[in-house]
């Protein structure tokens, strides 16, 4: 499987991957983060991917740092440097080191000879020993071992000591004692490394200027901010990995931006529901009453919300649902990534339904698509799903600084106020429909002239109960037309067809970076391909045009059953024979090698 040809030979300055193998709950993540942040501060494109277990303490966890001057920071499959700090996974970890690469280990204990590879250089740093000498108490010793390890890596990777020292100063502002011990541990590792080995390694960092104007941010935080900016006031949720941090961030930013400075009272309400059925119920209730309301969840939550999603669709109630996708089916792997809820969302609920989906590919898009989702939900009076995933949602990404257009005005859709109602002869909930097949709604608490009875049972265009075929169909058929009308408002796909190739690669969401890198790699092998990243459903003309313009379409996605391809098959005129799949659904973020391997196989077949 390991695609060695990609790893060697190449200059490794600002172009390498490091993997840190740790144990969950030992404090390694903040040390790892420190390293990633300092590379970012040095102006070098970088990514950090947390592969953590669905557990709180004691199980294996990894952190992968990819550094690439050209911005190719999708996950790497093999590593120039392995930091093997977890005996449990040692054998597995060692196997992932590139030939000619390095392994750093804690030389407080001897290496198991069986696990030593000829083509890898071993760098022993007696971390435990050093920290036991230097620090008191088991807790501090364990925590500081991670920092000492970071110190050694700083030396090995040529990270600027001043940059990282500055980070520590920022992090421990006002906590002098902590700053000092962290600093000390960092030095400890650093000094050992510089005095025992010849540094830096071939794979190392040199300062660049490629991250200016960028920030590090995760998609959940960005999405939460998007909701704050979109004017969401009611949020209802039930905790579930990997969506929890979205709501945490929403609550945090609301507390910061939405507490009335005069009264100290909140212009928002976050409801931790008793389950996901309640969460979506609260969202529907609040949206019906006129608030911008949303929930965030993941696969199992989507399953539980099915019935009420169907009600939202049929009774035409706005709702925004962030689905931060993890690995299914069932509980699956809650801390791993897939895009496998596409169909469960697109056709959610029994009976005939079709929903609106958005596919952000980065934290910046999570931010931008939040207001888009609310605008669409309210304009079209229907549930809208933002299908993010664990990789986007929980990992820190280098992102252009978030931008907001202060002239933005929320699209609240067709809502009649008391004055407008007075001018009508009579108000009917589901007619007349506008050119996009949307009828005006009214809100409770405004005027009795707009009163109507919302129901999930068969209803007429007036909103009255019916069991007559023609009356029922009048509403249901309009819903289908309405869904079609959404297409024009879906963010256009990102297309790069300058290669004018007969091969088009189509993808979505967090697969983007890996696919773009793969296209470059394929190009080096004289395989040229055009590119389209789809950003939402229903599909608009640009999506169709791309499919039409290419002889072979390869859809790259992370699920077993090619769900995006399925949606394209069903919802565009493309002949299904034209569509091929590259699927990677083991749960790790996508690598360019996964894509190259898959496409090569298709082309060779």
């Amino acid at each position: 499987m390991a695609a060695q040809h990609f790893a060697q030979p190449r200059s490794q300055v600002n172009d390498f991957a490091v993997k840190l193998a740790n144990v969950n709950g030992t404090g390694s993540s903040s040390a790892n983060n420190l390293l990633m942040r300092s590379i970012f501060r040095m102006g070098v494109p970088v990514s950090g991917k947390n592969l953590f277990p669905s557990n709180i303490q004691g199980l294996p966890t990894w952190y992968e740092i990819r550094v690439n001057k050209d911005g190719h920071v999708a996950r790497a499959r093999i590593y120039d440097l392995m930091v093997a700090m977890n005996g449990q996974t040692y054998a597995r970890d060692i196997a992932e080191v590139a030939s000619g690469g390095f392994t750093m280990y804690d030389s407080s204990w001897p290496l198991d000879r069986d696990l030593i590879r000829e083509d890898v250089t071993y760098l022993g740093v007696p971390l435990a020993e050093m920290c036991n000498d230097e620090f008191r108490g088991p807790r501090e010793r364990i925590l500081m071992k991670n920092i000492a390890c970071a110190g050694a890596l700083v030396a090995m990777l040529g990270i600027d000591m001043e940059v990282i020292a500055q980070l520590l100063t920022e992090q421990f502002a006002g906590k002098e004692r902590l700053r000092e011990s962290n600093q000390r541990a960092l030095r400890l590792g650093h000094d050992f490394a510089t005095s025992h080995f010849d540094f830096p390694l071939p794979c190392h960092v040199e300062a660049m200027d490629a991250t200016r104007g960028s920030i590090l941010i995760d998609g959940n935080t960005a999405a939460a901010l998007g909701c704050v900016y979109a004017g969401a006031t009611v949020a209802a949720w039930y905790p579930i990995t990997p969506s929890t941090s979205l709501m945490d961030a929403f609550a945090k930013y609301c507390a910061k931006f939405r507490r009335d400075p005069e009264t100290g009272r909140n212009n928002y309400l976050v409801l931790q529901a008793e389950d996901e059925l309640a969460a979506i119920g609260m969202v529907l209730g609040a949206s019906w009453a006129g608030a911008r309301a949303f929930t965030s969840t993941s696969g199992p939550g989507i399953s539980l919300m099915q019935e009420l999603i169907g009600m939202g669709y049929y009774a035409e109630i706005p709702a925004v649902v962030f689905d931060v996708q993890r690995v299914g089916p069932s509980t699956g792997m809650p801390t791993r990534v897939q895009q496998a809820d596409i169909l469960a969302c697109a056709y959610a609920s029994h009976g005939d339904t079709k929903h609106v989906l958005l596919f952000p590919a980065s934290p910046a898009e999570c931010f931008e698509m939040a207001p888009t989702a609310f605008d669409l939900a309210e304009r079209f009076q229907t549930p809208v799903f933002v299908l993010s995933d664990l990789d986007i949602g929980m990992n820190d990404w280098v992102s252009p600084a978030l931008e907001w257009d202060d002239s933005y005005v929320p699209d609240r859709g067709r809502v009649l106020d008391a004055g407008e109602l007075r001018e009508l002869e009579v108000y009917h909930r589901y007619e007349p429909a506008d050119s996009e097949s949307v009828a005006a709604r009214t809100l409770p608490g405004v005027s009795d002239l707009g009163a109507y009875f919302t129901r999930g049972s068969g209803h007429t265009i007036e909103g009255a109960y019916t069991e007559y075929p023609e009356e029922y169909q009048a509403v249901l058929d309009r819903l289908a037309r309405k869904h079609t009308a959404v297409a024009e408002h879906i963010p256009a796909p990102v297309v790069d067809d300058h290669a004018h190739a007969p091969l088009g690669i189509v993808t979505l969401g967090s697969c983007e970076l890996a696919v773009l890198e793969a296209i470059e790699l394929l190009g080096k092998r004289d395989v040229s391909a055009d590119y389209m990243r789809i950003r939402g459903f229903p599909f608009g003309i640009a999506v169709r045009a791309f499919l039409e313009a290419h002889d072979t379409i390869v859809v790259v996605e992370q699920n077993r059953d090619s769900q995006l391809r399925t949606l394209l098959t069903l919802e565009t005129p493309v002949p299904k024979e034209k569509l091929r799949s590259v699927l990677a659904y083991g749960g790790y973020p996508l690598s360019a090698e996964d894509v190259v391997d898959g496409i090569t196989k298709i082309l060779e077949a």
Binding site: R37, F40, I215, I217, T221, L225, V228, Y229, G231, V234, A236, Y253, F257, D260, R265, N266, N267, Y268, L269, V270, L271, E274, D275, L277, I280, G281, M282, V283, G285, A286, W288, A289, G290, A291, A293, E307, L308, M311, D396, S399, A401, E403, D405, V409, P410, L443, P444, G445, V446, D448, G450, A451, Y452, F453, R455, G456, Y465, T466, E467, Y468
Partner: protein
């Protein structure tokens, strides 16, 4: 046509409330329930209470799940918005509506199936959040709309029409409510509108969630001999614990119930809730004593009615959430959006 529009006849002689509205203005569509269904009497009592309380119809939000009971939300207050949701899911939908617009008078109509089976978890958590709303359980011991299966409130030994007896312990929403911290609990009987109206009025003024369990016989599937939720059985076993009188803020207290032995509870909006115990010493503010009373009455096979428990001190959803006084739906967007400048500090730089 399945949906029946009630003819709008105005009776010039009808009494008008402070808003100039007659009771007709608080009515809704024509009922499609069985003739004699208890639920229709509950509708009548709610209609009356709404009229009496001078509530502007458009400030009412009617919420329900699915069931014969749930349908009745369409049969009162035609000037109000209604939300006939999914089976058992009314509590979260009401929570959302109330969260968005705290000025709405939310009236939830549910059934024993809707609230005590599929929706029980939601009801318990609605209690925990103390969402300010009136929550009516039209309790008939059966699933009416699906044609007469036992519900979770069916008493042990109660029989179906065909004579099969229920063996499972009933869930009593009053005990359930007490166990999870409800702040207003009452029980009524659809056959006794005089008792129901002041209870509904007090419920509307309550600071938090008011649960009213109304025994509301199902004439089609559960009104036979052997049924403990029949008109006859309820009439025979009804024991009133309190007589209640509700005095709105502006009004002088000149009680409907004789003053003797009357206790007054000030409500958060300035109204006064007055009650007189029927068995001497029943105190609806003493939770433990209430439980004691209800348990021993249950032991005696009595159906206890009246205002059973009230706690006017606990905070409601919005107080607990420290939300602004203005309904969230009315906070202008400018106040909600932090603006581009605030993004300067966002993310790690």
């Amino acid at each position: 046509m399945p949906s029946i529009v009630k003819p709008l006849v105005t009776h010039p002689g009808l009494e008008r409330n402070a808003l100039g509205l007659t009771i007709r203005d608080y009515e809704g569509g024509m009922s499609t329930l069985c003739a004699g269904c208890g639920h229709d009497s509950v509708t009548a009592a709610i209609t009356h209470a709404l009229w009496e309380s001078d509530t502007p119809p458009h400030m009412i939000a009617k919420l329900s799940g699915i069931g014969c009971s749930a349908k009745t939300a369409a049969y009162f207050a035609r000037g109000a918005h209604g939300f006939n949701g999914c089976h058992g899911r009314m509590p979260p939908i009401a929570t959302g509506a109330s969260a968005a617009n705290r000025d709405l008078l939310c009236i939830g109509i549910s059934g024993d199936g809707d609230s005590l089976s599929i929706g029980l978890g939601h009801l318990a958590h609605l209690v925990r959040r103390n969402v300010r709303m009136v929550y009516v359980i039209e309790n008939n011991g059966v699933y009416g709309l699906t044609k007469g299966q036992f519900s979770a409130s069916a008493d042990v030994g109660s029989t179906t029409k065909r004579g099969e007896a229920n063996h499972l312990q009933p869930i009593d929403p009053m005990f359930l409510g007490l166990s999870v911290g409800a702040t207003f609990l009452a029980r009524g009987f659809s056959g006794d509108k005089r008792q129901l109206v002041p209870i509904f009025r007090a419920a509307m003024a309550h600071r938090g969630l008011a649960i009213i369990d109304v025994i509301s016989p199902c004439v089609t599937f559960n009104d036979h001999e052997g049924s403990t939720k029949s008109y006859l059985f309820t009439r025979q076993h009804d024991v009133q614990m309190t007589v209640t009188d509700f005095v709105p803020p502006a009004e002088e207290i000149t009680g409907i119930i004789p003053d003797q032995g009357v206790v007054s509870i000030p409500m958060h909006d300035g109204a006064t809730l007055r009650f007189r115990s029927v068995p001497d010493g029943y105190d609806p503010t003493d939770r433990l004593a209430v439980i004691e009373h209800l348990m021993s009455a249950k032991g005696r096979g009595e159906i206890v009615t009246g205002l059973l428990y009230v706690d006017e001190q606990s905070s409601d959803l919005h107080e607990l959430g420290n939300t602004t006084d203005k309904p969230l739906t009315q906070v202008p967007y400018e106040k909600l959006c932090p603006g581009s400048a605030a993004l300067a500090g966002v993310g790690f730089r």
